[in-house]
Symmetry: none
Subunit: 416 residues, 2 copies
Amino acid sequence: MTVELISVGTELLLGNIVNTNANYLSQKCAELGYSLYYQITVGDNEGRLCEVLKSALERSDVVILTGGLGPTQDDMTKEAVAKVYNRELVMDEPSRERIASYFTFRNKNNNSDSGVTNNNWKQALKISDAIVVENDNGTAPGYIVEAEGKATILLPGPPNEMLPMFENHIYPYLKKKQNKVFLSNMVKICGIGESKAETDILDLIEGQTNPTIAPYAKSGEVHFRVTAAADSNKEAEELLRPVVEELFHRFNENIYTTDEQETLEDVVVKLLHQKNYTLATAESCTGGLLTGRLVNVSGVSDVIKEGFITYSNEAKIKYLGVQPTTLETYGAVSSQTAEEMVRGAAKTSSSDTALAITGIAGPDGGTEDKPVGLVYIACLTNDKVTVKEYRMKGNRQKIRDQSVIYALDLLRRNLL
Amino acid sequence: MTVELISVGTELLLGNIVNTNANYLSQKCAELGYSLYYQITVGDNEGRLCEVLKSALERSDVVILTGGLGPTQDDMTKEAVAKVYNRELVMDEPSRERIASYFTFRNKNNNSDSGVTNNNWKQALKISDAIVVENDNGTAPGYIVEAEGKATILLPGPPNEMLPMFENHIYPYLKKKQNKVFLSNMVKICGIGESKAETDILDLIEGQTNPTIAPYAKSGEVHFRVTAAADSNKEAEELLRPVVEELFHRFNENIYTTDEQETLEDVVVKLLHQKNYTLATAESCTGGLLTGRLVNVSGVSDVIKEGFITYSNEAKIKYLGVQPTTLETYGAVSSQTAEEMVRGAAKTSSSDTALAITGIAGPDGGTEDKPVGLVYIACLTNDKVTVKEYRMKGNRQKIRDQSVIYALDLLRRNLL
């Protein structure tokens, strides 16, 4: 089975946004065992859209279009697909009702002046005989148009709408079209660099046929996707198992999950739940990002009751009981301050565990002694404090993101 | 002048890397006033590469290819271009010398004796009559092939080699080919939905010629790029000014900046700096995301001293002085609680301004009365508190992200 991606949007051609949709969909198609030979990006222009869709349909079994389903004049993906398929646009009643209720809900007691404009109703039109795919995160539905054994799939452009729609509706649809069974495990590793991780399993990567092993580097993490193709689920599982076991043998507790959906913060919250522990946080340079990430986990309210963003020295003294002499002698960015922060956070909130981060995220504030990228992370579990010193590279954003990951990983290891 | 991008690399088709090169080059081409209608990604496959290059040369003046210039068998961009142009590959002596000296240097510093392999010499071959472009950060040179008034430009794939090569050599080359000046303003709007914003200026969008107006929707925001083309900078500025003024006339204080680089949090921190105000935050459902975003702004430490993540009722009482009776009577997600949170945050931290967020981000915790998406945001400025109720749609992540934007925007408006 071959698939082709067409990303639609003038904002992509002008470089205003990075095409992360193409990246995500390429990964997913590879996972499903589809062969992808072309990714095309065109603007919101009917002529060019029709032209690229026609060539795509000539050479591929499935064409996935993203973008251009919005309510404005500019958005014309649906119109172009209808033209190529020689079909009409007809009103889809369920879509019309959904749009009406979406706006009613939003405006109720919202003091909002954004009513349903005429162009919103355009989103209720569907290509005749197309399958309408619900959008749980916006007003533009997706569509699947089938003809002559081929399919054209239309998805909205905003990633927060496209991703769940693909995950929930399109992925199962594509999986059913594919006659081989593809099974994969995502082996997620934290605490080892990408090249080190790859070197450690170079023999496996070079010798791979089925299962395949594909590395993905994420900021502060390394993921390996292990995929087996077979005629049945059972056969695929049997192919997968020994390779995943070998990865565990080599990486041990550096692996935090093999579940595609599970994040590092999910694992940390799960471990805290299992032990019936609560967690307090004290953040300086990360300014709330660590807690903000933990709070992503639904049901986290059982383990996190409160967090402290102590950007100033005064706040570190007032809320966490850091000693002024510690700050004077060692500075705010020091292992001593990190330790007092973590003890203070645990004590004042009566929590079982605590994390504290203090560092220099830059671009200013670095010295020769304490350069930008110097970060101390303290972790308290069972009244014992571990403090780690990190020297990170990169810009402000990267240093803060990495600090969050290292803090989560430090707590995870201490909980194991 | 039209330009077309061809990204070459199987790793892009498998989704192993995000195509940031296409994004960067698109931005640069827009800046230079080149019209870009197609971006294509293909794998390292000679047949498909020749096919897409031929169609690109038929419809565009300049074709830029990135990737596939490496030393391995896989890399065949140069070979494909030579084939399409019907030219030979010939040894380029300066390139040959550079490669030899690169390896000598590397081995000397590394105590390594890894020699130049035959593959490496492949990188010294150039397409006959091509302009060779030096690579200061790697072994693969770039090339410019000219014929019949058109140009094909070959650049290496790794961004750390491609970017400086483009910046230093290709940008000036393209600029010389282009005789117009292009200037643009990014008008960024918060507090109006995308379709409402477009409807408000539909006459301007429909009547546009020069300057052009292009809308971009971001979560919770709308951006319009206004671009003028002229023979001189001064003339472009004169074309731009009345259109931007008209947008200000229509959107007033909904516009928070016209600067491409400036974010909503930048503007808020700038306003706080101007008034010499400090800010305290109290976050429940956003769990630190608001403060985390503010702390993105370098130099924010003058305005933010501390923040409170009060996820539990106990923490709201203990740190912010919320009355237990308020929580009992109205609930944690209520305008009354939001107001007490914001007053408490300002008081305990002795801050001039404060923001508080309490809401139901879901997926659990919603009731008929208080559904998922119900969020109260309170803002304190000059001892006056404004509380707004919002009813948002979307998943947990979207509700939390929008809450952060609405909170920033509320403070911005109160500071104006």
